[in-house]
């Protein structure tokens, strides 16, 4: 009798699902509306990207995401937001999802229905009634990874690859509150390199072998694999998840070389620094390579690099812009002298200086007075989405 009842219930459930699915077969009009809303200015697309792949290390993908297996969970995250480190399809993401307050029930239903069926996804349609019910009944707070997983758990076989994780030391280097300075092997730089993380999640590689900023990035967190790197024989080249938004000119590298810049096993190098031509500061009459002199930690741990060109000592201090959308390089030159600063044009970044004049060849011309102290700002054209403070802990204090 019990068995019969169970079968009957299962049968009913099965029927219900079939009926429900059949009913929710996505309407092309709704999909079209959802696509438009998804791709609207400042909407989902800004973070999750047009292809739904998100951004490595920060924004999880929607295309093929295991997290879409429960529409109620998707509705809950969309309405209430989710802050904290999450694992999606086995990969780690640190950024937070803010609650979507601008869309009504119908719009949210259209967006989720679109997401559930775009990029090869094959999920159910969501109705505005479902969204309305959730809006009325869900707890009002922002979800944490723990609370969302408790309310909408994963089936067992997906639990390992999806959920949350305890941030380790690598993770802690994202969202630092003080600058972090590491000498280590960096891709795309001479072996005498610096990796620096700034408060505001601006990261850069500075090359002591050529006395210049090599590149800057903001997405995907700071360098990773530190534990291995700093306890082994020292061979690994540091890795990071993001793509630099700014790369300084490297006229001895071809675009295709960039794929090989982290490799260690070459027979000969692409070039050596004894004739590196890309030092950006040109002083008339001085035809020699800059010399690296060291660095000082200033203003709470920012590295101020110092190097010389001829008899002139140059100091360079890099910090994040106030809006955290780029970096400011502050230079001093002593004794002051007129210089030409060869700016590197960059598609992903906007370079600017308050002082001096841009010459016809694109270089920045500074008089001796201006060159005594000047700033160059590098702004990212497509800045990283904001990280919610506290999403990951700050770098552990050594004391």
């Amino acid at each position: 009798m019990k068995i019969y009842l169970f079968l009957q219930r299962s049968f009913l459930l099965y029927f219900f699902i079939l009926w429900n699915t059949a009913l929710a077969e996505p309407d092309p009009e709704i999909l079209k509306s959802g696509e438009k809303l998804y791709n609207g200015a400042g909407s989902c697309v800004a973070c999750h990207m047009p292809d739904g792949n998100g951004q490595p290390g920060t924004i999880p993908p929607l295309a093929g995401s295991d997290w879409l297996d429960n529409p109620d969970r998707t509705i809950a995250i969309t309405l209430r937001g989710l802050a904290g480190p999450v694992k999606v399809n086995g990969k780690r993401y640190y950024s937070a999802m803010p609650p979507q307050l601008l869309f009504d029930d119908e719009k949210i239903a259209h967006i989720i229905t679109y997401v559930n069926n775009a990029w090869g996804n094959n999920g159910p349609a969501v109705t505005k009634e479902q969204v309305a019910e959730a809006r009325a009944n869900l707890p009002p707070e922002l979800y944490s990874p723990a609370s969302i997983l408790k309310a909408f758990p994963f089936e067992k076989k997906k639990q390992k690859a999806n959920g949350t994780f305890k941030p380790d030391f690598d993770d802690a280097l994202t969202n630092v509150t003080e600058p972090v300075v590491y000498r280590t092997f960096m891709p795309g730089a001479s072996p005498a390199a610096f990796a620096v993380a700034l408060p505001g999640n601006q990261f850069f590689c500075w090359d002591a072998g050529e006395c210049r900023l090599r590149y800057a990035w903001s997405k995907g967190g700071f360098i990773r694999g530190n534990k291995v790197h700093w306890s082994s024989n020292g061979k690994p080249v540091a890795e990071f998840n993001g793509v630099p938004y700014y790369r300084a000119r490297s006229s001895l590298l071809n675009p295709e070389d960039y794929e090989h810049l982290a490799k260690t096993n070459r027979k000969t190098p692409f070039y050596d620094t004894s004739e590196a031509p890309d030092f950006p500061i040109v002083i008339e009459g001085i035809d020699e390579l800059p010399k690296f002199k060291g660095y000082r930690l200033v203003d709470g741990g920012y590295p101020e690099f110092r190097y010389s060109l001829g008899a002139h000592e140059i100091r360079e201090w890099i910090r994040a812009t106030e809006d955290k959308k780029g970096i400011v390089r502050t230079f001093t030159i002593d004794p002051a002298v007129a210089i030409t600063f060869r700016l590197t044009p960059d598609e992903e970044a906007i370079l600017s200086s308050l002082a001096g004049k841009i010459a016809a060849d694109g270089t920045l011309q500074l008089s001796a007075k201006e060159a005594a102290g000047f700033q160059i700002t590098i702004l990212e054209k497509n800045p990283a989405p904001p990280l919610v403070p506290g999403a990951v802990p700050t770098a552990p204090s050594a004391n």
Binding site: F169, V180, V181, Y182, R183, T184, F185, G188, A189, S190, P191, A192, A208, G209, N226, K227, W230, S231, S232, N233, G234, K235, V237, L253, D257, H260, L261, K263, T264, N265, R266, K267, T268, P269, F270, Y271, D272, T273, S274, F292, K293, G294, Y295, R296, L297, V298, P396, A398, N399
Partner: protein, 647 residues
């Protein structure tokens, strides 16, 4: 709990239970580990500040200070690139060797944390090869700084962008020097100029001065280094590892295309050789026993650490014919001191601190402290060359009866070949009988006259069963004296090189190397292949370097070679098989008295003219025994002879 554990260790040491070599008058304790955020406890640099605190650096790039009295660690600096040595200048200033630079690390605002990192020297290249380590800065009394640059490994290449000039002449080889001054000891003059000071180093993990201001550096066995070594560093000299010659002014051509005889003539010999496998495989820092050290009656001698073993060695040097040479002997070693004895320093109380590391090789982590209790250990204070042999001086009077027995002093001699190949066998290994023994009135000095003293040969003995008058056994018995020069009439250096230009080794052996008779043990008996019963293998002479009249050349199919060897008694003996095999991969079964013992994995000897050996324990009967090598489907290598050491 931790405290209890440490006390237990101290007890175990004092009771003389756990250690292998450490004299019982010395105790070994662990120091708590620095609180690295990377969880590594490897110690790559160690020195003491004027105020008595210990400074250590870790592979993580962190530098910590340790107050030995308060048992407190404090982070001083972080973010350095694999620093492998530091020297304290003041309580707030260190000189640190890190991969890209020698750096002056200072706390300028008095908050206890470094805030200024000044380049003292970056006047050298980096190919980005992980093996290009930058070792131990030391300072002389004038303020000059010396540091040592490791070569790159063929286990990896170079990076896409290298620092400094890239020179392809230095790129080939097992260990390479493709950017400036890799494989050199460097000097930063007091006025700040960086200059190459000596050439020919492979992995010079450790510089140090003696009390007279002589500079020493160690090197690791490998290509061009037959066995690990200690060199007395002098300006402009070349110490044997070829690739760094790329950067020597006036050196023409490519080092690896240069005739090894030319290189052998250029090189300066080591003042001490550490036999591979028994004494040291990877020697580290050099530290003089200062008058302030409280470490027994050895002031002025040098200590050298060893990575692969739990071992700190003592070095007994003397000047002969205008150059330093002498002996090494194990000193501190065995549990509870771990291996990886990488960095050494004297604590404010005169005890020795040892920093341990591994970097994925053999070794360990953490810090140990070795304290002398004040009682005299029974050790040799010195080993000096005489006109006829050696004179040992001991800390205590010896047992005259044991000391007067020639069997107590089983000397042997040999040399390591100088060649491009990795390592070297012990060549011309010959027992050297003691012909006369004279014991001084006070019983502390023993003069040994040897049947022959041969210049340019290593003379080694493991003193057998010597006790002091009071019954104390000699704590450390293995003495290896690198006899380059005799007190008078030293013959010219026979060079003892092998290989030819741009070849890995082998090649035509120079005349003085013809027919070397390698012996694993002076007590062994050689049985030549031509005297064996052969079923298949042909006798050949085409590849030089074999002993006797022929060697046996295995063909394919079922083939075997069998010797009948004699043993005085039953028990476990040893068989050493001398063979040559280019490329490896030709195993043979070892069959003793009709029973298969094991399949022997004969490895590549580096060419058909390059002979190696393989040693296995074998159970022997009293009387005749049959020892055979049989094919297992494939062919085998060339077999020169076997040697049997009886039980």
């Amino acid at each position: 709990m931790k405290r209890f554990f440490e006390s237990a260790l101290v007890f175990a040491c004092s009771a003389g239970i756990l250690f292998a070599n450490t004299p019982p008058e010395y105790t070994v304790t662990r120091v708590p580990n620095p609180p690295s955020k990377f969880e590594t406890k490897q110690i790559d640099g160690l020195d003491f500040l004027p105020d008595g605190r210990m400074a250590v650096c870790l592979p993580s790039g962190e530098i910590f200070f340790y107050d030995t009295k308060a048992d407190q660690w404090q982070l001083f600096a972080e973010g350095l690139h694999n620093p492998l040595g530091l020297v304290a200048v003041s309580n707030s200033e260190l000189i640190v060797s890190q991969r890209p630079e020698v750096t002056r690390v200072r706390d300028t605002n008095g908050d206890g944390k470094a805030d200024d990192f000044e380049v003292v020297s970056d006047g050298f290249g980096m190919s980005g090869n992980y093996h290009e380590f930058h070792f131990t800065p030391v300072r002389d009394k004038d303020g000059a700084i010396y540091f040592a640059l490791g070569t790159g490994s063929s286990g990896d290449g170079v990076r896409s962008i290298v620092r400094g000039k890239f020179d392809p002449r230095g790129r080939p080889g097992r260990m390479h020097a493709s950017t400036p001054f890799r494989g050199c000891v460097m000097k930063v003059t007091p006025d700040g100029k960086t200059i190459p000071w000596s050439y020919g180093h492979r992995t010079p993990n450790g510089l140090g001065f003696d009390l007279k201001g002589n500079l020493f550096v160690t090197d690791n066995q490998g290509d061009w280094v037959g066995s690990s070594k200690l060199f007395h560093v002098k300006e402009g000299r070349f110490y044997g590892h070829a690739p760094s010659l790329t950067w020597k002014e006036g050196f023409k051509g490519a080092p690896l295309e240069t005739d090894p005889e030319v290189l052998a003539k250029m090189r300066t010999r080591a003042c001490v050789v550490f036999p591979h496998g028994t004494m040291a495989n990877s020697p580290t820092q050099v530290l003089a026993i200062t008058p302030e050290a409280n470490f027994g009656p050895f002031t002025g001698q040098l200590l050298v650490g060893e990575m692969n073993k739990s071992r700190v060695m003592r070095i007994l040097l003397e000047e002969i014919g205008g150059e330093l040479q002498g002996a090494c002997v194990p000193f501190i070693g065995g549990s509870p001191m771990p291996g990886g004895c990488n960095r050494l320093g004297w604590g404010p109380d005169g005890s020795l601190y040892v920093g341990h590391t591994k970097h994925t090789w053999a070794g360990s982590e953490g810090i140990t402290r070795i304290e002398w209790g004040g009682e005299l250990p029974f050790e040799a204070v010195s080993m000096n060359l005489t006109k006829t042999g050696f004179r040992f001086t001991f800390t205590k009077p010896v047992d005259r009866e044991i000391a007067a027995n020639p069997a107590t002093w089983p000397f042997k001699r040999y040399y390591y070949q100088y060649h491009r190949k990795y390592g070297s066998p012990q060549i011309d290994l010959t027992p050297v009988p003691v012909e006369a023994i004279e014991i001084s009135q006070d019983g502390k000095t023993v003069e040994l006259a040897l049947a022959e003293l041969k210049a340019w040969h290593i003379h080694e003995l493991t003193v057998a069963g010597l006790k002091a008058e009071d019954g104390t056994p000699l704590a450390n018995t293995n003495f290896v004296y690198t006899l380059n020069r005799l007190l008078e009439n030293t013959p010219p250096d026979p060079l003892q090189f092998g290989g030819s230009a741009s070849r890995g080794g082998g090649g035509s052996e120079p005349a003085h190397l013809a027919k070397p008779i390698p012996v694993v043990d002076p007590a062994g008996t050689v049985y030549q292949a031509e005297d064996a019963r052969r079923d298949g293998p042909a006798l050949q002479t085409g590849n030089s370097g074999f002993t006797g009249r022929n060697y046996a050349d295995f063909g394919t199919g079922e083939q075997s070679i069998e010797w009948v060897v004699k043993s005085e008694k039953a028990g476990e003996g040893k068989v050493m098989i001398r063979y040559a095999l280019a490329g490896g991969g030709r195993p043979l079964d070892l069959v003793v008295n009709g029973e298969k013992v094991e399949t022997l994995p004969f490895s590549d000897t580096g060419g058909w003219k390059s002979w190696g050996d393989l040693t296995r324990p074998v159970m022997l009967r009293k009387g005749d025994n049959r020892i055979a090598l049989k094919t297992i489907g494939k062919t085998g290598g060339n077999i020169d002879h076997i040697q049997i050491v009886e039980p």
